[in-house]
């Protein structure tokens, strides 16, 4: 009888320790998950800011200005356009 009690006591202690460990592990993992989620949110915010930055840099007015002033580009006038019609054999005038 005493032996059985001892075994049960050992079993109980083991279970209790197991519970404590698993609880601790859960909490650690949860904290990690929470941290990652926070980071995901942070990255989301950063993505938004980068998108904002991208569209600010790629503003059409800015691109056009640089094309015109720095790269000296211009829209060709009608005299300098040759239209190639896929259906017709020859090119347009």
């Amino acid at each position: 009888m005493a032996r059985l009690n001892l075994i049960l006591l050992a079993l109980l202690t083991a279970c209790a320790l197991g519970l404590v460990t698993s609880q601790d592990k859960t909490r650690k993992l949860f904290a990690e998950l929470e941290h990652e989620q926070e980071q995901a949110k942070q990255l989301d915010v950063e993505w938004g800011q980068l998108q904002l930055e991208q569209s600010t840099w790629a503003m059409h007015a800015r691109v056009e200005k640089i094309a015109r002033e720095r790269l000296h580009m211009s829209v060709p006038d009608a005299k300098r356009i040759q239209m190639v019609m896929p259906a017709a054999a020859g090119a347009g005038e």
Binding site: F30, Q51, A58, D77, A78, K79, Q82, G92
Partner: protein
């Protein structure tokens, strides 16, 4: 050894002393038991709650407002987190040095900080919506009584170009104008909350319950094309500046679907910095303002006449003399040409011709036409402040009014309504619905006039931009263009202002298979020229040329350079 025999115990203690001790101990236990019942039983809930509040927290889950993009996914409005700095004045403790640093970071004079703190008690915002980097440096000052909270701020990368269409949001990120207001329920996010358990380090260790799920706002894809919008805006700006106009608007519609590809207004404002705004800057004129369109309305009257078989494009109208007297009023043409065909009435924009055709029609038929192309009713957009324009019931029309309405006087429309109405000529008689959101499903229009009539009108409108018409400056190299000029006296104090005009041009291209409808309106051009064909048509041409190239529309006319009639020989329309 016998204890009882011990001499120490020999003098018997009185029995009551042990009894008293026993009673005292029992009493003590009773008090403890009572206290226990009180705490565990009667006061349990309160204590449980107090205990939980030591480790359990309800935290807010913030939700972001949806993004607004153009039809190709380019961002037009984005919310990004910022910080607001607030203080409890009674708890604020800072040195002069700290105050100077704080003032420099917040970009406000130190006296202003003192003033704000002395004026308020309990709570005061020092500065709202500062960038997160600055906020981090503010909190590094470690000033007691100074706090920050997270807010969202909306940024508009395109600034003034899109200002009135997009509208803007207030400090609490709720839409106040434009699309931001019209689609508030779609864009707005709903913040949620949840209950968690925190450890002594403040880390969340367990999620106990989710009270309310956070719901991020949905993104909105507009029908606008950022490139076309920019093109339309810059051309409109050039025209408004060079013609010294008070204001101007331009609308670009997809002729096949009725989607609004571009919509720009001047004067405008920068939505990212909204200090010192005036009502004139805020108004989305193309949608919220109605005006008397003038001659751009003539094609509708002619369409009714052709549809009812009253005239054909070649019917001669007696316009010789250039005047028409109805009762006490006389209608004038700006130029006298002699008699002309119906097609020429449109091409040369003859008021007398249009009036004569109108008088041969029943008032109800004209009213029906105006009504069915959407005049007099707000456009189907749900945009805040849409103008419906004014079309009086036909039973109250006098003959002179019916005659003047033929050339767009005594009736008012918004530029957007006008552009949409022209889809009946561009789309074989079908009126297209309007949309500010991208439309992916095929669009079904409403048949207003027969395809045959629409084709006849299209041919007439093509004549307008040919030499001899009122709008040759609207032509585009490589494309067949059709359109109509308009020049109307401005209404003022119930009458017409003598020297104030509204110049307009509405047209579409390529005429063989129209892809775009563009309407341009300039309010009070005052640099000498004021005819629609002079000031509005060039804007149309420039925007149309750029837009057709942008959309890769194949040309339907030879690419020979245009020859414009010499300066001063243009035909201005009468009204």
């Amino acid at each position: 050894m016998n204890y009882a025999a011990s001499p120490v115990l020999a003098p018997h203690l009185p029995l009551w002393r042990s009894r008293l001790l026993l009673a005292l101990i029992a009493g003590g236990f009773l008090v403890l038991a009572g206290r226990d019942v009180y705490l565990q039983g009667l006061n349990h809930d309160f204590l449980q709650q107090k205990g939980e509040s030591r480790y359990s927290r309800v935290i807010e889950i913030s939700a972001t407002r949806g993004m607004i993009t153009d039809r190709h996914g380019e961002a037009l409005a984005i919310s990004t987190p910022v910080k607001s700095v607030w203080a409890i004045p009674e708890e604020m403790q800072y040195s002069t040095q700290q105050r100077a640093k704080l003032a420099a970071l917040l970009k406000m004079p130190p006296q202003e900080i003192d003033k704000r703190l002395s004026e308020a008690t309990g709570f005061v915002y020092l500065k709202r919506q500062i960038p997160p980097e600055v906020a981090a440096r503010v909190s590094a000052l470690h000033i007691p009584g100074l706090f920050q909270n997270r807010e969202y701020r909306r940024y508009y990368p395109d600034g003034e170009v899109m200002a009135q269409v997009l509208g803007f949001t207030g400090a609490d990120d709720a839409g106040l104008d434009g699309i931001e207001l019209a689609y508030q329920s779609t864009l707005a996010g709903k913040s949620g909350s949840r209950r968690v358990i925190k450890d002594r380090l403040g880390q969340i260790v367990e999620d106990t319950e989710s009270i309310r799920e956070a719901e991020n706002g949905r993104d909105l894809t507009l029908s606008l094309d950022a490139k076309l919008q920019n093109l339309a805006f810059s051309q409109l700006k050039l025209a408004v500046d060079s013609s010294k106009a008070k204001a101007g608007s331009i609308v670009v519609l997809d002729a096949k679907t009725g989607e609004v590809l571009a919509l720009a207004n001047l004067p405008t404002y920068n939505p990212n910095n909204r200090s010192r705004l005036s009502g004139a800057q805020l108004r989305n004129r193309a949608i919220t303002d109605s005006f008397e369109p003038g001659s751009t309305l003539k094609p509708f009257t002619i369409a009714v006449a052709i549809e009812r078989g009253k005239v054909t494009p070649d019917t001669m109208i007696a316009t010789a003399g250039g005047t028409l007297t109805i009762g006490p009023a006389t209608i004038h043409d700006a130029h006298r040409f002699g008699d002309m065909t119906v097609a020429q009435v449109v091409q040369r924009s003859s008021n007398v011709g249009a009036a004569k055709i109108a008088l041969s029609l029943p008032a109800e038929a004209m009213w029906d036409m105006f009504e069915s192309v959407g005049f007099g009713n707000p456009p189907p957009l749900d945009f805040p402040g849409e103008a419906s324009g004014r079309v009086r019931p036909y039973k109250t029309w006098r003959p002179i009014e019916q005659a003047t309405m033929a050339y767009g006087n005594g009736i008012s429309v918004s530029l957007l309504q006008l552009a949409r109405a022209y889809t009946i000529f561009a789309d074989d008689g079908e009126l297209m619905p309007l949309s500010l959101l991208r439309v992916d499903a095929p669009v079904v229009g409403k048949q207003v006039i027969s395809p045959a009539t629409a084709h006849k009108l299209r041919a007439m409108l093509e004549l307008v931009v040919q030499p001899g018409g009122t709008g040759p400056k609207a032509r585009v190299v490589g494309y067949r263009v059709a359109g109509k000029t308009g020049t109307a006296h401005k209404e003022e104090n119930g009458g017409y202002a003598k020297n104030k005009y509204i110049a307009s041009f509405v047209g579409f291209a390529p005429a063989s298979d129209p892809r775009l409808v563009i309407a341009v309106m300039l309010d009070e051009p005052s640099a000498g020229k004021y005819y629609g064909g002079e000031v509005a048509a060039p804007v149309f041409s420039a925007v149309m040329a750029g837009a057709l190239r942008e959309l890769n529309v194949p040309p339907d006319a030879p690419l020979t350079p245009l020859t414009l009639p010499p300066e001063g020989s243009e035909i201005g329309e009468s009204d």
